[in-house]
């Protein structure tokens, strides 16, 4: 009897071929949604490489999950780059010159040397370092299509100049040694005017006076040569950290602002320097003061999620051409200047 049962099972197993194929496109939408619900976003992205129709299907059925991605950050460092959205999504691309079998990923041509590294979670890829820029641009183009245009794209770079990508709204670059202004400018070629740019480090030479970096809405520089930045900056907010500006440079800038020669759009300026002399600066700048009993308080919120700085002052400057009033607070280590009435998100005034 047992033998018969065994024989029956053997025959059954020979006749029935366990399913290894499923036409997902033929299944009801409810079932498709349930299937895609079992995948992480990295896996869904990889699934979308199968065909355009499949990509549209994923986008239409899983749109609610894709919309959860508000900000995508491209992080560049030596020999690799990653694409991440907090804990929801992360891809890492490692540079490698051998064992790269082109796989026609991210909508790129079959010859593009970029491959999936067979990690189970579909988050690791390898690419040919010599083709880094074109590969990242291809990947970014696909990511933009996949997640949609409303996502906020930003770049962070450490000791590596990033690839110039389209539609980037925020960049934070830790400059590698011996970077030239031309190399830095090239990073902004596809997204010239951004909302926020942070630069840390030294350039071999000064930026050109017409550099697009000066047109950034909020520029934050650290260990950077700022005398030129003060002259050419055209945006609204400027923060200079670890500078070696002296009293003369500050006086020169403040007087130039008063006479409308510089920084006409400026709303907030913060300078961190060393050994500034408030009395000397104020003496050389024609300023006004509120009644000794009055002073004004304002809060400056850093654009990159830093703390809010609260400052009080009774000293102010008046721009000759339009009577614009800028409150000024100087300590031995800082200069804060804020245009009165700039009640936007980053600055609020309170009368006391």
């Amino acid at each position: 009897m047992d033998l018969l049962l065994l024989l029956n099972n053997v025959i059954k197993s020979q006749l029935i071929k366990p399913t290894s194929e499923v036409r997902i496109l033929c299944l009801p939408t409810v079932v498709q949604r349930e299937i895609f619900g079992h995948f992480k976003l990295e896996e869904l992205l990889f699934l979308s490489f199968c065909s355009k129709r499949f990509k549209y299907l994923i986008q239409s059925i899983q749109g609610h999950r894709l919309k959860l991605i508000k900000t995508i950050t491209y992080t560049f460092s030596s020999g690799k780059f990653s694409i991440g959205a907090e804990t929801l999504f992360r891809l890492t691309f490692r540079e490698g010159y051998s064992f790269i079998t082109p796989m026609e990923l991210f909508g790129m041509s079959r010859e593009t040397p970029c491959c999936w590294s067979r990690s189970r979670c579909y988050s690791l890829y390898n690419y040919d370092g010599e083709r880094r820029d074109s590969i990242i641009q291809g990947v970014h183009s696909y990511i933009q299509q996949f997640f949609g245009p409303s996502t906020y794209y930003e770049i962070e770079s450490f000791n590596e100049l990033p690839t110039s990508l389209e539609n980037i709204r925020r960049s934070s670059i830790f400059l590698p040694a011996n970077s030239t202004p031309e190399e830095l400018e090239a990073c902004f070629e596809n997204s010239p005017i951004q909302e926020y740019v942070r630069l840390e480090g030294h350039l071999k030479r000064d930026l050109s006076p017409n550099s697009v970096i000066y047109e950034t809405k909020y520029l934050d520089v650290d260990h950077f040569r700022v005398s030129d930045v003060l002259i050419h900056f055209k945006g609204e907010r400027l923060r200079c950290n670890h500078t070696f500006l002296d009293n003369t440079a500050i006086v020169k800038f403040l007087n130039a602002w008063k006479s409308n020669e510089r920084s006409k759009n400026l709303k907030v300026l913060t300078i961190h320097a060393f050994d500034l002399d408030k009395d000397e600066i104020m003496r050389k700048v024609d300023h006004k003061s509120l009644n000794p009993r009055e002073f004004i308080k304002w809060n400056i919120r850093n654009g990159n999620g830093g703390n809010t700085i609260t400052t009080t002052s009774r000293d102010y400057l008046i721009r000759e051409i339009d009577g614009e009033r800028a409150y000024l607070n100087i300590t031995p280590k800082t200069v804060h200047l804020a245009i009165f009435g700039s009640t936007e998100i980053h600055i609020t005034f309170e009368s006391k």
Binding site: K12, I16, S20, E21, R23, I24, I35, H38, F46
Partner: protein, 203 residues
């Protein structure tokens, strides 16, 4: 044979597309939300017709339901490593057609556990594969197949257009034939009236 009851002892008769009937326990059947919505409270006189699905598919679906009757605290599909011999056999005994039929039947009967179980199985079939391997699993048409399909559709559209044109032509001809006697009648009447008027005016 069938009655509205909540006892798991009660058996219901199910009718398949072939017209065959077979027994399913009430406990197993109650995993189907469709059944619950349609028959649970009012009962069913005679076999319950699930005639969109064949007997083999329905038996497979209820085999799962009978098996999972005791899994009260079901918390989603199991991890790959936790699959029991029964789980493996359940899927290995199905070919592609039956697997799809089971998913569709499960979806129609709204058996959440089984649908989720099958979907997890599909996800597992895709995981760890590269694009080409995935395309094989989901059997996406190749570029050549798509081209051939498009050509067939174009031919079909052209043929349909021809048929439509012919039909329109025929209809036009029929209209003309139908209209001809009327026009002739109108013309004849008009001629007669003209002649009458002329003779009247001459008088």
């Amino acid at each position: 044979m069938t009655s509205p009851a909540s006892s798991s002892e009660v058996k219901y008769l199910i009718e398949s597309s072939e017209g065959n009937t077979f027994d399913v326990s009430g406990a197993a059947l109650r995993q189907s939300n469709t059944f619950n919505a349609m028959f649970l409270n009012i009962g069913a006189d005679g076999p319950i017709p699930f005639t969109d699905y064949n007997e083999a598919t329905l038996k497979k679906v209820f085999e799962y339901c009978e098996h999972s009757v005791n899994e009260e605290n079901y918390s989603g599909p199991k991890h790959q490593d936790d699959l029991s011999k029964w789980d493996l056999n359940f899927f290995n005994e199905m070919d592609q057609k039956m697997f799809i039929d089971v998913i569709n039947a499960s979806n129609f009967l709204d058996i959440e556990r089984l649908t989720s179980y099958c979907c997890e199985r599909i996800a597992r079939m895709l995981r760890g594969k590269n694009t080409q391997e995935m395309i094989k699993v989901i059997t996406l048409p190749t570029a050549e197949e798509l081209e051939a399909k498009q050509k067939v559709e174009e031919k079909k559209a052209a043929a349909a257009k021809k048929v439509a044109e012919k039909a329109a032509e025929t209809a036009e001809k029929t209209e003309t034939l139908e209209e001809l006697p009327v026009q002739q009648l109108v013309q004849t009447t008009r001629n007669k009236l003209t002649r009458k008027y002329l003779s009247f005016s001459n008088e």
